[in-house]
Amino acid sequence: MDQMVENAWLIPLFPLAAFVIMVAFGRQLKTTAAYIGILATLASFVLALFTFLERFQEGAETFYQPVHWFSIAGFDVTMGYEVTQLNALMLVIVSLVSMLVHIYSLGYMHGDDRLPVFYQYLALFTFSMLGLVISPNLLQLYIFWELVGVCSFLLVGFYFYKPEARAAAKKAFIVTRIGDVGLFIAIILLFWWTGSFVYNDIFNAVENGVLEPWQITLAAILIFIGAVGKSGQFPLHTWLPDAMEGPTPVSALIHAATMVAAGVYLVAATFDLFAASPTALNVVAYIGGFTAIFAASIGLTQRDIKRVLAYSTVSQLGYMMLALGAAGLIGYAAGIFHLMTHAFFKALLFLAAGSVIHAAHTQNIFEMGGMWKNMKVTGWLFLIGCLAIAGIPPFSGFWSKEEILLSVYHAGRMDLFWIAVLAAFFTAFYMFRLFFVTFTGESNLNHKPEESPVVMTLPMIVLGVLAVVAGFINTPWNPVLGEWLTYGMEGELHVEAPAWISVVTVLFSLAGIGLAWMMYNKKSLSRDWLSGRVPALYQLSYNKYYIDELYDTVFVRPLRGIGIIVNWIDDYVVDGAVRLTGRITDSVAGLGARMQNGQIQTYGLVTVVGLVLLIVGLTVAGGYYK
C-alpha cells in the first residue's frame, strides 16, 4: 500500500457492505444496525481523510482507474474511480458529515422500531453519494446520481404513514427526475459527439474543438438542468422545502450538506465544459443569483424552523451557482469553498434544529420561544451556525461568502454582486429571526424542553468547531484551498479588490441581524411593521410566490385532464373501434343466424337458391377451369 489513492475505491464500499449486512439481517438488528453504519462511515471517513491528506500537496496527479463494465454494440463502457482535488475534498466532506449524522441519529431516532431501516437507507445513501463523487465518467455519475435521489426519496418518505410525507417523497423524486432527464440527454448527446462518457475524454474533445459551440452550450445547459433539479434551484426548487417531512438528520445530511450540493459538484466537475460556453455560464450565474435572492425572500416569512433552513439552503446553493457561473476560476474556487463551509454550518444548523424539535415536539417557531434557558449547548451551537451563515467574521461563512462576493465583483458583474449582497442581508435577517424567536423571549411550550443527549450534541460540537475554523483554510491573503483546487487549471486566482466590499457586506449582514433583533427580541419594532404595510408582498412571500399552485394549475392538472380525456378516447374511440368491429361482425353473423332458424324448409330453400345461383354463376362465368 504505497499510495492511499489507489485504495480510494474502498471508500464507498464500506457503507455498501454495511447496507448489504443490514438488509440481510433486517429489523432484528435493532440498534446494532446503527453501530454497523457508524463503523462503516468511520472507516470511509478515515480512508477519505488519508486520501485527502495525500492529495493535499501541490502537483498531485489525478488518479484514474477504469475497469470494463459491459459493451454497448462493440463499445466498451467502463466503470472506475478517479481521485482529483475536487472529489478528494468532497469525499472528506461527505464521509465526515455522514458519519456525524449517523452518530446523531442514534439519539434522534432512539426508540423508533424502524431504526434499522433508517440506517439501511442512510448507508445506501452514503454509498451512493461517495460513489457519485468518485465517478470518473458521466454514466457512472448518473447511476449514483439517481441512487442518491432514490435514497432521498426513501428517507423523505420515511414516515410513510403521514400523507404529507408521501406527497413530499413523490414530489422530491419526480421534480428531481425532471432535472435528471436533462442530464440523461446531455450524457447521450456528449457520447455521440465525443465518443466517450469519461470526463477527461469529453474535456479533451472540447479543448480540441471537436464540438461546435452550440453543442457545447446545449450539453452544458442540459447538464445544468440536472444540477438545477438536484440542487433545488429555481424553477425546480419546490421539492426541497417539502422534503423537510423527512427525519431531521436526513435533512441535515441529504437536503443540506451533501446531496443537494451534488448539483453544484456536477457543475464544478464538468466546469471545463461550462467554461467553453459563455452562454451556459451566464445561465448558471443568473439562475443561481435569482435563486439566491428568491429563496431568501421566501425564507423571510416562513414559520416552520426546517422550512426556513430549507429555503436558506436553496438560497446558499444559488450563491454557489452564482459563483461558478459568474466569476471564472476564482468563482470556481469560491463556489467549492462555500460548498464546504456550507456543508458544515448548514449541517450544524439542521442538527441543532433537530435537537430543538426533539425537545419541543413542534416545528413551528412561534410555538417555541425561550429555549435558550434549557438548551444552552444547542443554543450556542445554533448561534454559531447563524453567525456563520450570516457571514460574520471570523466564522467560516464569512470567508467563503466574502470570496464569492469578491470574485463576482472582480469579474465586473455588478448586477449579480448587488443581488448577492441583498441576499446576504435577507439571510442574516431570517436566520436571526429564527434564532430570536426560537431561543429568546417567553416560552410558549407547555412543557419544559430538555437538552439532547451527548450522542446528539457531540456531532454538533464537532460541526460547530468546523463551522468556526474551516474558513481559515482559504483566506483572501492565503487562498490555500483555492490554489490547490485549481491546480493545473489556467486562470487568475489572486484578487485585487477594494477593502470596502468586506466592510459593506458585513454591515449589510449586521443590519439584517439588527433588524431581526429589534423586531423579534427587543420588540421595539412591531412584527407587523413591514407585513402590515405591504400585505400583498408578505402574502406573496409566505405563500412561496404561489409557485406550487402555479405548477399545479399549469402542469399537474392539465396532465391529469389530458389523462382523463385520453382515457375517454381509449375507452370509446380506440376500444370503441374494436367493439364496433366486433359488433358489425356480430350483426352480420346475426343475419346469418336468423337464416339458421331451425326450419328445415328454409334450409332447403336456401340450398335450392344456392344451387340455382351456382349453376347460373358457373354458366355465366364459364366455369373455373376454362
Binding site: Q601, T602, L605, V608, V609, L611, V612, V616
Partner: protein
Amino acid sequence: MSGEFIAFFILSLFTIGGAVFMISFTRVVHMVVSLAFTFLSIAGLYVLLEAEFVAVTQVIVYAGAVAIMMLFGIMLTPHREQEEDAGRAQKVVAFIAVAAFFLIAFFIIQGTTWDPSVHHFTEDNTTMIGKTIFTQYVIPFELVSVLLLVALVGAIILAKREENDSE
C-alpha cells in the same frame, strides 16, 4: 300421330295434373288421392318405356303401399280442414327459385343433342331384371334388403308407444 304418342300425352297429362292438384288441394285426403293418380299414370309411362316389371312394382309399392301408408299417417295425426301453407314471402322465393331451376333444367334439356337411337329389349323384361340383379347387382340387392329390414324394425320401434307414455 301414333297411338304411343296419344298414350304418352294422356298419361303425362294425368301425371302432371295429379301432381299439380296435389299441390293445390287444401284437404289432405284429396292430396293423397290425387297423388295416387299420379303414381298410376307414371306406371303407365313405364309401360310405354318397355319397363313392365317396374311399372307393376310402381303400382304395387306406390299406388298401393305408400299411398295407403300415407292415409294411415294422415288418419293417425290431426289435421285441420284447411291446411296452412308457408308464409307469403317464402312461397314467392320458393316459387322463383324453383321456376329458375325449372327454366335452367329446361333449357339444358332442350339444348342438349340427345342420341336418337332407341334400345329395344329383346328378352323378357322380368327375366332380364332377375338375371342382372342376381348376378351383377347381387350385393346392392342384399344391402337394400338389409336396409328394408332395418327400416322395418326402426319404423316399428319409432311408432311404438313408449311404456311410460301411455300413463
